[in-house]
Symmetry: C2
């Protein structure tokens, strides 16, 4: 039913000029590669992440949300480095060229790109099973990137926003979690439209000692940060920031979802205690909350405490090759 359209026409019609306009784009879509000018005294940050039908999203998922999410998951990696995003490339494998789908996808991608001043500067479209791969480049002042390996014992452990919502939202979409209207809508939206903490990440430069984004679950991602830093941590379960919707949906087991649920794209970071006020101010300045959920310890993995009792927890996490 789709009208015949060539790859070149498709790119021109739906993707040329998408996102923000930037003077550092010397050549965007239309040559063999994009040509960009990196400002002096900036390091380059590069990341890529993919969304695959049936793996990262349900078959038939709304194209507008996919456009948003495909960029958001990459923006989140840039945010976790404390960098500012600048240029995106898009590789789209499509079973067929459906103009309606493409328009909605481009609208979702383009709207988020504009918010963060990202220009779409290249990519390719192929026929194939639906998958979306985005590569995102950003810049950060030389030597100031946030890494995973800077946490030190005695520092505080933080997470931004609220965690566990997106994973619960996916369960709602799958029909695995049945709850009332408003809470269901809220959780579903948190899965379909994650808000990467780009401004917060940049504001944490010089304040946070290590940072990672929460893509596979707070517990698993915090462990990654701790392993890179050679530390352990104690997390107090009562401090975990959970939304009213998640509490309504899961009651007493909300904390488990908060630790285990992926796809939230919040930031988990460590910082010296002396920076607490500056961190709170940075978060407030970017309309985000941050919560101190525990402390960095010299050794061990993640110890979970609830009212002085040590809790046991086995994360499911998410791994493509371990069922």
């Amino acid at each position: 039913m789709s009208p015949v359209i060539s790859e070149t026409e498709l790119i021109q019609r739906f993707f040329a000029g998408l996102g923000g306009q930037r003077t550092d784009v010397l050549l965007g879509i239309g040559d063999d590669a994009a040509l960009l000018r990196v400002a002096a005294h900036q390091d380059l940050v590069l990341t890529t992440d993919a969304l695959i039908e049936g793996v990262h999203f349900l078959p038939g998922a709304p194209a507008h949300s996919l456009g948003h999410r495909a960029l958001a998951v990459n923006l989140s990696d840039i945010a976790a480095m404390g960098a500012s995003p600048s240029w995106a490339l898009l590789s789209l494998n499509l079973p067929h060229a459906d103009p309606e789908w493409l328009e909605a996808f481009a609208a979702g991608f383009g709207a988020l790109a504009k918010v963060h001043g990202v220009a779409l500067v290249g990519g390719n479209v192929s026929r194939g099973p639906l998958s979306i791969t985005v590569q995102l480049a950003g810049t950060v002042p030389e030597g100031q990137a946030l890494r995973r390996d800077g946490a030190r014992a005695g520092q505080a452990l933080y997470v931004s926003g609220q965690v566990g919502d997106a994973a619960a939202g996916l369960k709602v979409l799958r029909g695995e979690l049945r709850i009332a209207g408003d809470a269901a809508d809220y959780l579903q939206r948190r899965f379909e439209y994650p808000q990467p903490r780009v401004q917060l990440g940049a504001a944490l430069r010089g304040l946070a000692s290590a940072c990672i984004d929460v893509s596979d679950g707070l517990y698993v991602d915090a462990q990654r940060l701790l392993r890179a830093s050679g530390c352990g941590a104690r997390i107090e379960l009562e401090r975990l920031p959970v939304s009213p919707a998640l509490c309504q949906a899961l009651g007493d087991s909300a904390w488990q979802q908060a630790l285990d649920g992926g796809e939230d794209y919040e930031l988990c970071f460590s910082a010296p205690a002396a920076n607490a006020a500056a961190i709170a101010a940075a978060a407030a300045g970017h309309a985000t909350t941050v919560t101190c959920i525990g402390s960095i310890e010299p050794t061990g993995g993640v110890e979970l405490k609830s009212k002085n009792a040590v809790m046991q927890f086995s994360p499911l996490g998410f791994d493509h090759f371990r069922d």
Copy 2:
């Protein structure tokens, strides 16, 4: 039958440290994003290209060749900009984690990366229908990139190497072209192991006026260069560089394959007549041939001439969404 292996283990085992070692990689695989230092007075060049099973390669194609080709097609885009490649990201969608396949793929990718000094600095591996997306970054001295839009009437039109081989090689692999052993092997190898003209591209800076790589066929790609430059061209069929193997396989119709066959990853470029000797020297210095195949004309598309007769030709080219 595959042993259970996590995504993190898989990346560590097969991909960490792949390719060349570079001092400008501040953080490679293992953080949220790669962190890189761009040298002063260099512009950044970014490209991405994908290989999808059943579209860009036959099901069951050898993994070593896929690793080589996935990088080669991106190196070719960098070459066409006159840039030097530096950092690659790899997005791999795999139906299952087969260590033998992964080892061969990484060996093919890594060997070509080493030749061109490219470091693999990040990426992701997901479970999904087999597809390979590579993003490649390179640098070029400020303002010196080769673009598509610089050809001018009166200049000469060139192509590197020999064209048509790869498409014929694919026909051999598909059983659509039956020829004797050595020629078949040669053509097949030209499809499976294209040699991107990276050194030649860099050497053409300041000599070529416009450049494009031949991925979809010489006729179609030359037209793209001409359209971007607002020019036409006359190509003399007798000058088309074709290999003995292609002549043996296709006889009198070799020229059609030379114009129409994609996947050669040679460079097509224009240059002022005055640069002919310098171009020949640059090619010889990089063990590549270049052939002047015609001239840039003020208007029109591509006119094909053979012994003063104008020839008609309808390219098939390749388009994902136009069957």
